[in-house]
Amino acid sequence: MSIALATAMVVGLPLMAAAVAFAHPRRGRMATLGTGLLLLPVLAVLVLENLRTGPWRQDLGGWAAPLGIGWQIDALALTLLVLTTVVALAAAIYRLAERRLVPDSRQRRYFWPLWLFLWGGLNALFLSADLFNLYVILEMVALAAVALIAAAGGPALAAAWRYFLATLLGSTLYLLGVALLYGQYGALDIALLTGRAAEEPVTLAAAVMITLGLLLKGAIFPLHFWLPSAHGRAHAAVSAVLSAVVVTAAFYLLVRLWFGPFAGMLPGLPAQLLGLLGAAAVIWGGVLAMLQRHLKMVIAYSTVSQLGFGLLVFPLATAGALPDQAHAGMLMLLLAHGLAKGSLFLAAGCLAWQWGSDHLRRIGPPMAGGSLLAWIAIALAAASLVGLPPSGGFVAKWWLLESALAARAWPWAAVIVLGTFITAGYLWRILRDPLRLGSDDAAVVPAQGQPLPIPLAMPRAALLLALAAIGSGLFATALRSAFAAGGLAG
């Protein structure tokens, strides 16, 4: 297979499948599964090529950069592409199984086209190297995500509305920044801009606007206002993809730009400020996760908290001691967090189906007849989130902490350590009740009787993601060398 074709397929397949699913709603299910299964070998080809030759760039239609649009393929992009495919596939399997539980409805018809549209948009986002192209893709992803959130109906509509306003504002601010950059340097390509951008007031203003827009889209504290309700109220499968990948995508762009065109401006205060935001997010989101009463809300706030760890990459990578380790840690964090978060949301969806509510007090312990697989998935994903070895979350924190310790950056090291305690605190809220298995404590026993039976594929999809989260840590060194060979950002 030619590499150019493979790259085109990464974006083209989901979009074409979306068109098919839209035209023939009955084929939606096949189109989705087919896309996922076809994307896996395609990505494998790209990963192998990347390991062999390192990062490369592909100009669409043979048009070179100032005029045409380019795609860049490196370890950062490929890792996130793989993450997207795995999470989207698992969530799709979950959703397909879940559909046996709900009666047919009108909205069902548009679910798969939107899903595939989102999928294709995310894939394009991770590949594209053109700022304006990225704007269009950001809008595309945002629209699909809003529609998918709204598909849950009820309170999700209001949440979708908030998300919609926030993400549109973010896109507009981003576009404003892009316009400023173009006005100054006459280029939209990230690589070209990296060469041209200098520390000038315009670049500064553009960086401010773009960063703010992406912080909004990435739900970084204190602009996280839209995330908990949107992710907490959407369908579990949608929440999984949103929390695992869509938020990560905004974060990914932040990394691309700050270690690309704006790299010269990063060292010093800006990096510290971004790190400070991350630290605040870790603590703020974590404490709020502890205070939630609904399982999905705990998980949603946990996303706010976990992305904060990712922001630490800015001060740590500029501290100079072990920048590669900080980058690798950040990438590992995105990967492990995405897998674990997807698993948590899917498992939470299973439990919510079984017990009729995702209120923490209403969910019965595993021994009460609920899905044991879902609980195992939650336990494994929680182990990864909190950073128990040998999970992916552990490896991510380990690398980040190494980089912080090497730079003697005690405050950031303290944030990682404190964040671990907070993470353990809110995960304990989830796992506390099921762990008191033999307890005669009446408060734990759910009010209603037997749990609803659910198709086995639902918890299995969650378990698959949880196992991937653990497995990504088991092969840490291999991944580390793959990152190095594939060209990490920076």
Binding site: V208, T211, P222, W398
Partner: protein
């Protein structure tokens, strides 16, 4: 791959294979039968003897996870695997609330233990450590009662602190060894930074229940099911000693009076724990305090090893001590469990006799394993001090025996199957007892054996016991003469002493937190927050921009340039005619900085540059640059 390597792999994988086997429904009903089997390969491996050259590398896993059985590992593995096996066999007979769940957590804990003992590199060790620690939570809280859950919560909280301390220490060590690499455990301690060593000490000390960090130990051991208590006390807490041993053996140097302090701390803990244990009435709690006391001795031995006084002898003594204490304590716990269910007089007598033997061994009676351990102890401290520790232990053991003998059989633990249940679990218990008495002799080297067998040592071993007997007899006599003397008024534990009562400020803090979060969700507040963030980002960028660009020496000159431009927005339109760029920054600042009144910008300016002339200079230079 030779036989040893295969055995090594099999030993580590056995618990996982057992877990996989649980997928069979037939096995799931009799899950506990797998417990002794899972420890068998490890025991066989340990019996075969150490072979540090025959390590295996698991390529790709973690950082080339390495497994090996060296002398140190074997010193832990042999008694450890033996106790896991015997306690597992006992658990198979023991009435459990949820056999399947118990088996799953047991196997996970065992898997962690075997991994960490056989690990040859730091990461593998740490992974096993974490797995064992957190899986043991399921064992501690198995009964699911309120006390068990509270004890479990304390256990989990303290273990989390220990785990995070270890994690930081591991990251520190690997960072120095080459980022992302997992260094070998052998020779790990050499040249370690003292802060990292301290973090390791916290992690290992918490696990060991070292004096001062022992809060979880008596409570967790008292609530766990009997076989779980046996392995917790007999095997798992000693993992902390393994970690410390690895570091000290690897050349860790404790500066200053550290070793002396460590020894003193250990001995203080030994006596304190005995005093605390004497006030308890629950036999298992007394045994747990005895474990704290014995771990104090282990800490003292580690301190002596760190001081460098005949380390070889100390290591040998420590190995004997760990083996002897593990098996004897295991026998004591298992015996207590049997005693609680046995109603038959004859059986009770036999059990009590066995408990007396194990207790005497713990108290370092002559010819016991304890005597061997004490022989090692005397290499670094005066003989009388070692003797007094024996007296203290003997007192605690007498107290334990009295309580255990008078403790009525627990009705709820009694299995309902009736008849022959009394002898259930007798065989594993007897085997543990015999192993506890014999294994130390086998493990000890000849010099230690000879030392323990000479007549003076026999005499030295006897007087502490006699002293303890006299003291106990005196106490009994006093008590019978004046009833009420020495009895501590039963302290009301108070319903809220360990109840989950958050500190009073917490509720208010949580309330404030939620309210603030709700505020952050309001659109006008979001607007203000976003504006503030724009300003913050712009300021940070402007301040940190290289001063050279604008030829002004002070760092904040870039802010100055931006500010000057924002001011100039209305003043000098000519500036913008030449190029739109500066206008944009002004636009950005002015448009989005709605909160920032125009008047504040000169303030920023003044802060950035001291003199008015300087401002003009800066602005002027920028203008030329922008125009160019």
């Amino acid at each position: 791959m030779n036989a040893t390597q295969l055995a090594l792999l099999l030993a580590v994988l056995a618990p996982w294979l057992a877990l996989t086997a649980l997928a069979l429904p037939a096995l799931r009903r009799r899950a506990t039968i797998l417990l002794p089997l899972a420890a068998l390969p490890a025991l066989l491996l340990a019996l075969a003897g150490p072979d540090p050259d025959a390590g295996i590398v698991l390529p790709g896993l973690l950082d080339q996870a390495r497994l090996a059985l060296d002398g140190t590992a074997r010193a832990f593995l042999l008694p450890g695997a033996l106790l896991w096996l015997l306690a597992g066999a006992y658990a198979h007979r023991h009435p459990l609330t949820h056999p399947l769940r118990f088996a799953v957590f047991w196997l996970l804990t065992l898997a962690g233990y075997l991994l960490l003992v056989l690990a040859a590199d730091l990461l593998t060790f740490y992974a096993g450590f974490a797995l064992m620690t957190f899986a043991a939570y399921g064992l501690v809280t198995h009964t699911g009662g309120v006390t068990a859950l509270r004890a479990g919560r304390l256990y989990l909280g303290l273990m989390l602190i220990g785990e995070v301390a270890l994690f930081t220490a591991v990251a520190w060590t690997t960072m120095l060894a080459g980022p992302g690499n997992s260094p070998d455990l052998v020779g790990l301690g050499a040249g370690m930074e003292s802060a990292a060593a301290l973090l390791f000490a916290i992690g290992f000390g918490l696990k060991l229940g070292a004096p001062g960090l022992h809060a979880w130990l008596p409570r967790a051991h008292a609530v766990a099911p009997v076989p779980a208590s046996a392995v917790l006390s007999g095997v798992m807490i000693k993992v902390g000693a393994l970690g410390a041993w690895r570091l000290l053996e690897g050349g860790l140097e404790i500066p200053g009076h550290g070793p002396l302090i460590l020894t003193a701390l250990g001995l203080t803990g030994t006596f304190y724990a005995v005093a605390a244990g004497l006030r308890q009435s629950e036999p298992k709690t007394i045994l747990a305090w005895s474990s704290v006391s014995q771990m104090g001795l282990v800490v003292a031995l580690l301190g002596m090893a760190a001081a460098g006084t005949s380390p070889a002898a100390v290591w040998a003594g420590l190995a004997v001590m760990l083996a002897h204490h593990g098996l004897a304590k295991g026998a004591l716990f298992l015996g207590t469990g049997l005693l609680a269910t046995a109603a038959d007089r004859c059986t009770r007598r036999a059990l009590l006799f066995g408990l007396v033997l194990a207790g005497a061994a713990l108290a370092a009676a002559p010819l016991s394993g304890g005597a061997l351990a004490k022989a090692a102890l005397t290499t670094g401290m005066p003989g009388w001090l070692a003797g007094v520790t024996g007296t203290a232990t003997a007192l605690l053991m007498l107290h334990f025996l009295r309580r255990a003998a008078s403790h009525p059989p627990e009705p709820d633990l009694k299995p309902t199957t009736g008849g022959a249940v009394d002898t259930r679990g007798m065989t594993p218990w007897l085997l543990t007892l015999v192993a506890g008495l014999l294994l130390p002799w086998w493990l000890a080297d000849t010099s230690l054996r000879e030392y323990a067998l000479i007549s003076t040592a026999l005499g030295d071993g006897l007087w502490p016991l006699l002293l303890a007997g006299v003291l106990a007899g005196g106490a009994w006599w006093l008590r019978s003469r004046w009833p009420g003397i020495g009895t501590v008024a039963a302290r009301q534990p108070g319903p809220d002493r360990s109840a989950p009562r958050p500190p009073p400020g917490m509720a208010r803090l949580a309330h404030w937190w939620t309210l603030t979060e709700r505020q952050l969700h309001r659109w006008p507040v979001i607007g203000r927050v976003a504006t503030t963030m724009i300003l913050l980002l712009a300021l940070a960028l402007a301040v940190s921009a290289t001063p050279a660009r604008f030829a002004c020496k002070q760092a904040p000159t870039d802010a100055l340039a931006g500010g000057e431009l924002a001011l100039g927005l209305s003043a000098t339109p000519a500036l913008f005619a030449c190029r739109q760029a500066p206008a944009e920054v002004g636009a950005a600042l002015a448009a989005n900085g709605r909160v920032l009144a125009r008047g504040e910008l000169p303030g920023t300016l003044a802060a950035g540059c001291s003199g008015r002339a300087r401002q003009a200079e800066c602005a002027g230079r920028f203008r030329t640059k922008a125009g160019a």
